[in-house]
Amino acid sequence: MSDKERIKSLIKEAALYQKQGLFEESKEKYEEILTFIQDHERYSKDKKLIDAVKGKIRIAEDNLDEIDKTTETPALSQEIQDLISRLFSSSKDKDMAAIEGAVALAKFGQYEKALAEFQRLIEEGKMPLVAAKNSLMCHIAISSPDAAIAQFEQWVSWNTFSGPDLKYIRTFLENTLEKQGIKADLPLVDEAPDVEGESEEREVDMIDISSISVELANGPRKGEKIELQVTFQLGNKISTIIPAQQKYLADAFKIGLRLSGMQCFSPLAIFNARGIVSGLKIVTSGPRRGSHALDITIDGV
């Protein structure tokens, strides 16, 4: 094979690997071509050829980078999510199959949908303890242990579970967090929790809000839109956490500040709301120490 033929056949090979998505192999082949060219005087001065090959190497590298960077959890349509929960649940028992389906959704990164499903199962009393444990694991996977703790706090104050069940869930959460090296300040659970005084607030029929977006009205970043995760919700009162590193955000809020153009995100819908800052304090203990707890009361949608 003449040198020219050799280069031609190597280029053909490299181009095929590129076309088949074998970018690593394509890159190596082009590098081999480059070395070959540079080693042969007849071609080593052919700047056009060398640049072309270098260009191909860059394309392969860009493709490799892109593969590394792509997000691994795409938003899937409702239809596909339903298909996943159907295909990956094999239990004959209907409730168990529902749990398996929701677990599969979580494993495929569809945490929001999985959480909604676990929540439904809890509400309908279908294997609520299994659902609760999986729900906490989901919270940890999506955002942070804090979200799981907030969820647990909500269950405690909403009286979602009986005393003994709450105790069981508390132990599970405590152990799970401990495995991650986190010592959490979980609320203590009575065998028969006192729920008086809460009934009124529970009646407020408010959709579950997962995060809000507000425009900063004060401070150095006035006008900037920020998003805050809701860690806890009781009716129309929501709590969010401003991490210690973002203290400048906390400075933009003060108790009594009216928030008019607030956007609320829930697993079901995005809606606009008005509210008022009803609490702002620094967290002095527990895993969120140093952060600010910002409470907002929503008084209009």
Binding site: S9, K12, E13, L16, Y17, Q20, G21, L22, E25, N63, E66, I67, T70, E72, P74, L76, I80, L83, I84, L87, F88, S90, A104, K107, F108
Partner: protein
């Protein structure tokens, strides 16, 4: 494990296409979907990432009609071949009844074939399944590339690399053109149904 409903006499089984990244698993299913329209009224579901790489799985349900008095339904899946998606492969492999291993004939992918087969063996073992016992067919794909002057492995070398212990039925293929795709699937179906028949004591 297949679902067998003796009352309705419906049997539903699961075949998974396994193999290294880019070997042509999805292309197999695409061809089956195109050529086998009369066996399905569903769409081929593909959940992909950048550049058509499978991210989660491809899924295609087929209805084969009545076999020995039973309504036979088959679910075909592919796994994502990229090494980093092992947890997804394990998930997709759950309850598998038969496997098609799609090997890449490109010489440059020799090692990847090997690693993927080993990965299959381990993932099956974790589920208490033995690669020597599960219905398995091997496909040597992209045979057409040899004619284009691209270095590919001779079949006998691939047999020695991958199939000397397994002794599974094997086929050369060009999945893009559909060559060998039907034969591979048919063989795997026969092995799987025969296996299930023994296991489920299902017969006329």
């Amino acid at each position: 494990m297949a679902v067998f409903n003796p009352k309705d006499r419906v049997i539903e089984c699961k075949i998974v296409y396994y193999g290294p990244g880019r070997s042509g698993k999805t292309t197999n299913l695409e061809y089956i979907f195109k050529a086998g329209k009369k066996y399905t009224n569903s769409e081929l579901v593909s959940i992909n990432t950048k550049g058509d790489r499978t991210l989660f799985f491809d899924f295609l349900p087929l209805g084969l009609g009545k076999i020995r008095g039973c309504d036979v339904k088959v679910q075909l899946y592919t796994v994502p071949g990229q090494a980093k998606y092992n947890s997804t492969r394990k998930l997709v492999l759950k309850n598998v009844d038969g496997v098609v291993f799609v090997a890449d004939s490109l010489e440059i992918r020799r090692k990847e074939n090997f690693l993927s087969l080993k990965d299959l063996q381990q993932n099956l073992a974790e589920k208490n399944m033995n690669i020597l016992k599960i219905p398995l067919v091997i496909q040597y794909n992209k045979r057409d590339l040899g004619e284009q002057g691209i270095p590919i492995m001779p079949i006998k070398d691939m047999e020695r690399d991958l199939n000397s212990k397994l002794k599974a039925p094997s086929f050369g293929a060009n999945a893009l053109k559909g060559k060998g795709v039907g034969e591979t699937l048919k063989k795997c179906l026969i092995l799987t149904l025969r296996h299930l028949q023994k296991e489920l004591q299902w017969s006329q």
